[in-house]
């Protein structure tokens, strides 16, 4: 027993206090992202689009020649980098939320049907998922984008087409195990209609893991949108995106590192924060994890 607790403590990557700091960081990042995206025009100190050749490649404030007017410096067209980062948060947030909503709902429906109906329908759907997962998404995304025109909408479509399978798999596995639970079986035995069983008894089991997966997927989508925009097949100028800014700063990497580095840092911090949030959510929303945590704390106090 003691050995088991010890080994599971070893398996846990970080101690509890670190996990909570990470969670605070994650929540702060997400709140900041939402605020920046919603109030971008009011927060941004300068216009993010109008070029000004006089102000080209000004360094950030902490370097020689930097000024408080352009805190993070300016890019190769003299646009304020801070303002562009603030406005660029919109593309990440919109892409992330819409893809998770579209792919999440479609995947959940497929998973519910597959898990609930079972039999041949289940086999067929899961084969489809297997095949789709086996084939790497970025190339298919490129193909879809090449056929439609590159834009935020196309990015959302392409990423949704490649993003629903994980949701379907998760939902199906939870439905399968939930149906084995005595109270669900009891509900079916006393004659609950399938719709009632699904929505009333099975769906609540889905909420916690689905939420965690949705947050994790959000992080992945932010990265994917940035990558597509970097490759020139995502958001198109004059619309703004962090990936796009990294791409346009590439040619100035050798004499103005900040043009590439700062928008990239914005992506990294966002994704890191969202991943931390997901890690914390997994623990908080799962009652079993909570119990395990309690047991661990007790065991530590006694040992």
């Amino acid at each position: 027993m003691v050995a088991e607790v010890a080994s599971s403590a070893v398996k846990m990557r970080q101690p509890a206090w670190w996990r909570d700091y990470a969670a605070v960081f994650g929540i702060a990042v997400v709140v900041l992202l939402i605020l920046l995206a919603v109030f971008a025009p009011y927060i941004a100190p300068h216009d993010p689009v109008i070029p000004s050749l006089r102000l080209r490649l000004k360094p950030p404030v902490w370097m020689d020649g930097g000024s408080w007017t352009y805190v993070l410096g300016t890019d190769h067209l003299g646009r304020d980098i801070l303002s562009r980062i603030i406005h660029g948060s919109r593309a990440s947030l919109i892409a992330g939320v819409s893809v998770v909503a579209i792919a999440g709902s479609f995947g959940t429906i497929v998973g519910l049907i597959s898990g609930f109906v079972g039999g041949r329908v289940d086999t067929l759907m899961m084969r489809w998922v297997d095949v789709h997962i086996a084939f790497p998404g970025l190339l298919i995304s490129l193909l879809i984008i090449a056929v439609l025109k590159p834009s935020l909408g196309t990015v959302v479509i392409a990423l949704s087409i490649n993003g629903w399978m994980v949701f379907a798999r998760l939902v199906r596995s939870i439905v399968l195990s939930a149906r084995q639970l005595p109270y669900v079986e009891a509900a079916e035995v006393i004659g609950c209609k399938p719709v009632r069983t699904i929505f009333r008894h099975i769906l609540p089991n889905l909420a916690a893991p689905l939420l965690t997966l949705a947050v994790l997927e959000f992080a992945r989508i932010v990265l994917a949108e940035a990558a597509l925009s970097f490759l020139g097949v995502g958001i198109q100028p004059p619309a703004m995106s962090w990936g796009l800014d990294v791409a346009s700063g590439r040619n100035y990497l050798f004499n103005a590192w900040w043009v590439v580095t700062l928008p990239g840092l914005a992506i990294t911090i966002t994704v890191l924060g969202v991943n931390f949030l997901a890690g914390w959510l997994r623990v908080v929303v799962d009652p079993y994890e909570g119990e395990k945590r309690f047991a661990r704390a007790v065991a530590n106090r006694e040992g």
């Binding site: 080994s7 070893v10 056929v147 791409a247 990239g264 990294t268």
Partner: protein, 308 residues
């Protein structure tokens, strides 16, 4: 037929299904969602020109005939002419493949070489420095955009330290930065997996027995735990290789101007060369299927309990 041949036959059949499905997706996306004629011809093309191209592409035929035709030419490895370079697409792919193989080979080798010792030491001494490096690397793999990582490496090693070339093909030195960029995130994910599967194995009763018998550490690791941790690790390596081939190389090759298949895909999009892009998607799908097939066979030899 014995069991192994059945295994191979079934796997081959499943691989064929994957290839067919991908073909169907490519077909639907390029022919039905988009209009290849509109994409390939300039806006001011005459109706007669459109009609000629439509007929040349077989678009005046019924859809099922088009699909059969499409399949037949793909399996004959006939991908048509490149719109951009005016030569057969298969030639372009053949020309670009070696560079991509070099990149993926070097990157994945580096990732494994980094991940195995890191993951092993991290599993044996949890919480110590190697364990922290492993955690940090895996966070990098999870959160840092690949294109940005590449650019930062260029800045540090080419612009500041001036010890490595920033981009382009050429000598072995040119391969270093792209391979490292491809390897670092994979190494993080792999090291984390090696760590967790080794921890599982190190806690198993048979390891305690081996320790009690007085077996030396290298023997316990080499003969017992590594072999048992091999299946999950190989699965992950296979996954990383296919992800690299079909996704990460596109980004890394673009950042470093490395003339492989991924860069060709991006150039094909920029020049609206739909047939070339389609050919690349098909060839990569084929490679992914072959790699997965090969891995399945390897598992069968490592662990005979695995069935289809």
């Amino acid at each position: 037929m014995n069991e192994l041949s059945w295994f191979v036959v079934r796997r081959l059949f499943q691989g064929l299904v994957v290839v067919l499905t991908v073909t169907a997706i490519v077909f639907v996306v390029t022919r039905l969602i988009g209009d290849p004629v509109a994409i390939m011809l300039p806006l001011d093309a005459t109706e007669a020109q459109r009609e000629t191209l439509r007929r040349a592409l077989g678009l005046d035929q019924p859809v099922y005939l088009q699909f059969i035709d499409f399949l037949r030419s793909l399996f004959a490895l006939d991908f048509g002419e490149s719109y951009w370079q005016h030569r057969p697409n298969i030639d372009i792919i053949r020309e670009r493949l070696p560079a991509t193989f070099q990149l993926v080979g070097a990157g994945m080798l580096l990732a494994v070489v980094l991940a195995l010792p890191l993951g092993t030491v991290a599993a044996m001494y949890p919480g110590r420095l190697p364990d922290r490096i492993t955690s940090a690397l895996s966070l990098v793999g999870l959160s840092v955009p690949l294109f940005w990582l590449g650019l930062i490496l260029i800045y540090v090693f080419a612009a500041q330290l001036r010890i490595l070339p920033s981009s382009g093909p050429g000598t072995f030195v040119h391969l270093v930065l792209p391979a490292v960029t491809l390897a670092l995130p994979s190494a993080g994910r792999l090291a984390m997996l090696v760590r967790s599967s080794l921890i599982d194995e190190l806690n198993a009763p048979y390891v305690k027995t081996a320790v009690a018998k007085g077996l030396p550490l290298w023997r316990i690791l080499g003969v017992h735990t590594y072999v048992n941790a091999a299946v999950p690790t190989l699965t992950m390596i296979g996954w990383e290789v296919t992800r690299s081939l079909a996704g990460h190389t596109i980004i890394v090759e673009t950042v470093f101007a490395w003339p492989g298949l991924g860069l060709a895909a991006i150039q094909a999009i920029q020049r609206e060369d739909l047939l070339l892009l389609q050919a690349i998607v098909f060839v990569v799908a084929l490679m992914v299927v072959v790699i997965n097939l090969a891995l399945d066979l390897v598992y069968k030899f490592i662990d005979p309990r695995i069935s289809v």
